[in-house]
C-alpha cells in the first residue's frame, strides 16, 4: 500500500528536518578552543585577566528558591557594580525549590539550552548524575587563573567532597559544611517532668525513660506528641549509627565518636547490621507505646507540630545556632542535644553548589563571577539582602529591616546563594556567629571515605530498582509505623534480590581502587 510507504517517508522527512532545524537554530555556535576559555592561555597562569581588556558579557544564572520581592531592583544595582568590576551583566533566574527546580533544570540541561551558571547539589539538579554525564565544565584548570579567591576561601577538604575522578565540576557554597544529627528538645516539657535533657544524646535508654515520663502529658493534652522523629538513618544519612553510607543503604563502618577508629573499608549493607535492627526495635517499642504521632498516615508537612508547640523530642539536622533562631520565631524555648560529633561527609559537602554549564560560551567569565560572589561582601550582600536603604538598613554594621513589612523586604533562600560568611549579621544575631561557624566546620570528624563517589555505570539498573524499594519502605520504617521484625527482613530480602551483592562487589572494587589513588 502506497499510503503506508508514505507514512514511513514522512517520519524520515521529519527526522531530517528536525536535524537541520535544531542544528541551525542553536543560537550560540560553539566557540573554538575546548572546555576552558582558550583565549586566555597565553597569559601566565595564576594571574587574573585585566578587566579593561575584557568585553562585556551576559551571564545567565539559574538559582533555586522563589524569586524574592524586589529582585529586579537588586539586579539593576548589582549589575552597575559588576559592570565596573568584571564587565558582567547578570541575568538571575529563580525557580522554586522542590519538584519544579528539578524538572525545569533537567529539561534545560539535557536539551542543551544556553545558560552559564546553575545551582546543583546532591538533592536538587542532581550533581552526581549530571556531572558524570558531561553537563558541567571541569573547573580545575581554570581555577588558579579565574578563581584565585575561591581556592583561598574554600579549603581543600571541601573541594574534595564534590571531586569526581579528580575533577571538580562545581563551586561549593560555604555554609555549615558538616552534618550533625541532634535532638531538638522542647525545654518546657523537660522542665515540667524534671528531665535532664542534656544527657539524652549519650544513651538511647535515657531517651526511652524520658519519653515514658513525659508521655503522662497525653492525659492532659490528647494532642501532645512525645517524639516526632529520631535520627535512625535513611537516605540522607544523618544518623547516630556507627556507619558511613556510600549510596544508601550501602556503606562502611565508621564510629565518628571514636577519634582513633580504624576503618576497615569493607562495604556492607547497613540495613543488615545489628545496630540498625536494635535501634529499629527500640523505636518500634516507642511507637507501640504511643509516643509517636498516633496518626502517622495523616498528611504531615511537619509544620503544625512546631507551631502548636505540643511536642517534646524531634530529630533535626543541625545548623549553627538554629536553636536560637527557632526559639525566637516559635516563641518557646528549643534546645539541641547532639547525638554524635559533627561529621564532614560527601553529602554534607555537596548540599549547595554552583556549576558552570558546558554550553556556556564564557565559562571563564562565569567563574570570575563565582569568584566574586564568594569573596566580595558587596556582591554577596546584594544577592542576599537586596539594596541597602531600599530593602534593609545597616545599623552599626548589622542588618535592620526597620518597620518594613515582609513584602517590602528582599528575602531569598539565603543559605544556597554563596559564601555565607560574607553576610552581614542580622540585628538579633550573636557577634560570634561566624566564629562559631568556622569552629563548627573545622572541628568536624572527617568521614574516612570523604570524596569517594561511585560511578553508577555498571550498576545503574540495580540502583534504580533499589531506589524504588527504598522509597517504598523508609517513610514508615523509621518511625516504627511498621514492624521491623517483619518488614526489615522483607526490605533486606528485596534489596538482595534487586542485586544487592552485585552492588556491594562493585562498590568494594571501586572503593579499593580509590584507596589506591589516595
Amino acid at each position: 500500500m502506497y499510503r503506508n510507504k508514505w507514512l514511513i517517508l514522512l517520519v524520515i522527512a521529519a527526522m531530517v528536518l528536525a536535524a537541520a532545524l535544531t542544528g541551525c537554530a542553536k543560537e550560540n555556535p560553539p566557540t573554538s578552543g575546548g572546555d576552558t576559555g582558550g583565549d586566555a592561555t597565553d597569559k601566565p597562569p595564576g594571574e587574573p585577566p585585566k578587566v579593561e581588556d575584557l568585553p562585556m558579557v551576559d551571564i545567565i544564572w539559574y538559582q533555586i528558591g522563589e524569586a524574592p520581592n524586589g529582585s529586579d531592583v537588586m539586579l539593576e544595582k548589582l549589575n552597575e557594580y559588576l559592570a565596573e568590576k568584571i564587565k558582567v551583566k547578570l541575568d538571575l533566574r529563580w525557580t522554586e525549590a522542590g519538584a519544579n527546580y528539578n524538572e525545569k533544570m533537567n529539561v534545560i540541561i539535557n536539551s542543551g539550552e544556553y545558560y552559564d551558571i546553575c545551582f546543583t547539589s546532591n538533592w536538587a539538579a542532581y550533581y552526581f548524575e549530571l556531572a558524570p554525564k558531561g553537563a558541567f565544565v571541569a573547573l580545575n584548570d581554570m581555577l588558579p587563573q579565574y578563581g584565585p579567591e575561591l581556592l583561598k576561601v574554600i579549603t581543600e577538604d571541601i573541594w574534595e567532597g564534590s571531586r569526581i575522578n579528580g575533577k571538580n565540576y562545581a563551586v561549593p557554597v560555604l555554609k555549615d559544611m558538616a552534618e550533625l544529627a541532634v535532638l531538638n528538645v522542647n525545654v518546657k516539657y523537660a522542665e515540667k517532668y524534671g528531665i535532664d535533657y542534656k544527657k539524652l544524646g549519650d544513651d538511647i535508654n535515657l531517651v526511652t525513660e524520658a519519653l515514658e515520663k513525659v508521655s503522662a502529658e497525653i492525659q492532659e493534652d490528647p494532642n501532645f506528641i512525645p517524639i516526632i522523629n529520631y535520627p535512625v538513618g535513611g537516605a540522607h544519612g544523618q544518623t547516630a549509627l556507627p556507619y558511613q553510607q556510600i549510596i544508601w543503604p550501602f556503606g562502611v563502618a565508621w564510629d565518628c565518636k571514636d577519634p582513633n577508629f580504624k576503618p576497615d573499608y569493607k562495604v556492607v549493607n547497613i540495613l543488615e547490621t545489628p545496630e540498625l535492627a536494635e535501634l529499629l526495635n527500640i523505636i518500634r517499642g516507642w511507637n507501640e507505646a504511643g509516643y509517636y504521632n498516633r496518626d502517622l498516615m495523616a498528611p504531615d508537612t511537619g509544620r503544625d507540630f512546631y507551631t502548636d508547640g505540643n511536642w517534646f523530642l524531634d530529630w533535626y539536622g543541625y545548623f549553627p545556632y538554629h536553636e536560637y533562631s527557632q526559639s525566637l520565631s516559635l516563641g518557646y524555648k528549643v534546645d539541641v542535644v547532639p547525638t554524635t560529633p559533627q561529621k564532614k561527609t560527601t553529602a554534607s559537602l555537596t548540599g549547595a553548589m554552583h556549576a558552570i554549564g558546558v554550553v556556556s560560551d564564557h565559562p571563564e567569565r562565569a567563574l570570575m563571577f563565582l569568584n566574586l560572589l564568594n569573596s566580595d561582601p558587596v556582591v554577596r550582600n546584594f544577592v542576599g539582602y537586596g539594596v541597602e536603604g531600599v530593602h534593609y538598613d545597616l545599623v552599626d554594621g548589622k542588618v535592620s529591616f526597620g518597620d518594613r513589612s515582609p513584602e517590602e523586604r528582599y528575602s531569598p533562600w539565603q543559605a544556597m546563594l554563596g559564601n555565607n560568611t560574607l553576610l552581614y549579621l542580622l540585628e538579633n544575631e550573636p557577634e560570634d556567629k561566624w566564629e562559631f561557624f568556622h569552629n563548627y566546620n573545622n572541628n568536624a570528624a572527617i568521614s574516612p571515605i570523604l570524596g569517594f563517589f561511585p560511578d553508577r555505570t555498571n550498576i545503574d539498573t540495580e540502583l534504580t530498582v533499589m531506589n524504588s524499594i527504598i522509597n517504598e519502605y523508609e517513610r514508615y520504617l523509621w518511625n516504627g509505623a511498621i514492624d521491623p521484625k517483619v518488614k526489615l527482613p522483607e526490605y533486606i530480602q528485596k534489596i538482595k534480590e534487586a542485586g544487592g551483592d552485585k552492588v556491594i562487589n562493585e562498590l568494594q572494587t571501586q572503593l579499593d581502587a580509590w584507596l589506591q589513588t589516595r
Binding site: 528536525a18 542553536k26 542543551g112 498516615m297 534504580t464 531506589n467 517504598e472 534487586a498
Partner: protein, 312 residues
C-alpha cells in the same frame, strides 16, 4: 503511471477538503512528527555535549535494551504489569458502562431543570486535583477519626485499618475513579445521543415499543460506533495509569503496594529527583509499543465485524 495520474486527479478534485485539513496536517507535522526522533534516546547511554541535544543524542553510545532492564529486573515486575493492565481494563469497561448508564438516566428524566442541575454537579469531581481527592479519601478512611470507622464503631463493629490492608484497595481505587470520571465522561455520550434522529423513536412508539425496548433496540445500537472507537482508543493506554490515583490516594504506603503499584508509580519511585531522562523515556516507549500492538489487533477485530466502526 496510472497510479500517479490517479493520485494527481484525486488531489486536484479534493483541494477544498485538503485545504480544510491543511492546518491540522501542518500542526501535526511540526509538533508531533519533528520531535519523534527523540524516541531513540531510549536505546542510548545519553551524554550531554555542548553542541546541543541532537548532537549529544547522535554521539551517545547505543546500549540496546539496557535502559529497559529496570522495569523487568524488579521482583515486583509481575505485580506491576498485572496491576497496570488489570486496572486499565477494569476502569475502561466499568467506566464506560457507568458513563452510558448515567447519560441514559439523564436523558430520560422528565424535568429538564433538575437534569441541568445534576449535570452541573456530577462534573465537579473532575475539577479537583488528586491531592485534594486523596485528602478527601483520607477523611473517610482515616484509622481513628475517619468517617467510615466512626460509623462502624457507632454500629458496634470493629474498626478497619484501611491503609494497612491491600485487599480493600482495588475497590477503593475503582470507586474513586468512577466517582471522579463518570459525570464528565457521560457528557460525551449524552451529546452523541442528542444527535440521533428522533423519528426512529417515534416510529418505534407507533410499533408499540416500550421505553426499555427503545433503549436496547435503538439507542444502544446507534451508540455502537462511538463505543467501539472509545474502546479501541482506550486500549492504547493499557500500560498507562493515573499517577495521582495510585500514588497520592493510597499515600505511598508500602503495605498497599501489592494492590497499588503500577508502572508510573514504580518509575517515579525509582527515578525520583534523579535527573535521569532516559529510563522514563524507555518506559514510555514500551507503553507506546504495547498500546500500538493492542490497538492494531482491536481495530482488526472490529473491522472484521463491521468495517464502519473501525478506526482506520
Amino acid at each position: 503511471m496510472t497510479k500517479k495520474k490517479k493520485f494527481k486527479e484525486n488531489f486536484l478534485r479534493n483541494i477544498p477538503l485538503l485545504l480544510m485539513a491543511l492546518p491540522g496536517i501542518v500542526y501535526i507535522f511540526v509538533l508531533r512528527y519533528i520531535p519523534i526522533y527523540g524516541i531513540i534516546i531510549a536505546f542510548k547511554d545519553f551524554r550531554i555535549h555542548k553542541n546541543g541535544f541532537l548532537y549529544s543524542l547522535m554521539t551517545s553510545k547505543w546500549v540496546g535494551f539496557k535502559n529497559f532492564e529496570f522495569l523487568f529486573k524488579t521482583q515486583d515486575a509481575k505485580i506491576i504489569f498485572r496491576n497496570t493492565i488489570g486496572y486499565s481494563l477494569l476502569f475502561l469497561f466499568l467506566g464506560m458502562i457507568f458513563q452510558i448508564i448515567v447519560a441514559l438516566l439523564l436523558l430520560e428524566m422528565t424535568n429538564r431543570r433538575t437534569v441541568k442541575v445534576y449535570q452541573t454537579l456530577i462534573i465537579f469531581p473532575h475539577f479537583l486535583s488528586m491531592v485534594i481527592v486523596a485528602f478527601f479519601v483520607y477523611v473517610f478512611l482515616a484509622p481513628n477519626e475517619g468517617v467510615i470507622n466512626n460509623m462502624l464503631m457507632a454500629m458496634g463493629f470493629q474498626k478497619i485499618e484501611w491503609y494497612m490492608e491491600p485487599k480493600y484497595w482495588p475497590y477503593i481505587l475503582t470507586i474513586v475513579t468512577l466517582w471522579k470520571g463518570t459525570g464528565y465522561g457521560s457528557i460525551m455520550y449524552l451529546a452523541t445521543i442528542t444527535g440521533f434522529d428522533q423519528e426512529l423513536y417515534e416510529a418505534a412508539v407507533i410499533d408499540g415499543a416500550t421505553k426499555w425496548q427503545q433503549t436496547t433496540n435503538i439507542t444502544l445500537p446507534l451508540l455502537k460506533p462511538i463505543i467501539s472507537i472509545m474502546l479501541i482508543l482506550g486500549l492504547s493506554n493499557v500500560l498507562g495509569a493515573d499517577f495521582g490515583l495510585f500514588y497520592q490516594v493510597p499515600r505511598n504506603i508500602p503495605m498497599l503496594n501489592p494492590a497499588t503499584n503500577v508502572i508510573p508509580t514504580f518509575v517515579y519511585r525509582a527515578l525520583m529527583n534523579m535527573g535521569n531522562i532516559v529510563m522514563p523515556a524507555a518506559a514510555g516507549l514500551l507503553q507506546s509499543v504495547a498500546g500500538f500492538i493492542l490497538i492494531i489487533v482491536a481495530n482488526t477485530v472490529v473491522r472484521m465485524i463491521n468495517p464502519e466502526n473501525s478506526l482506520f
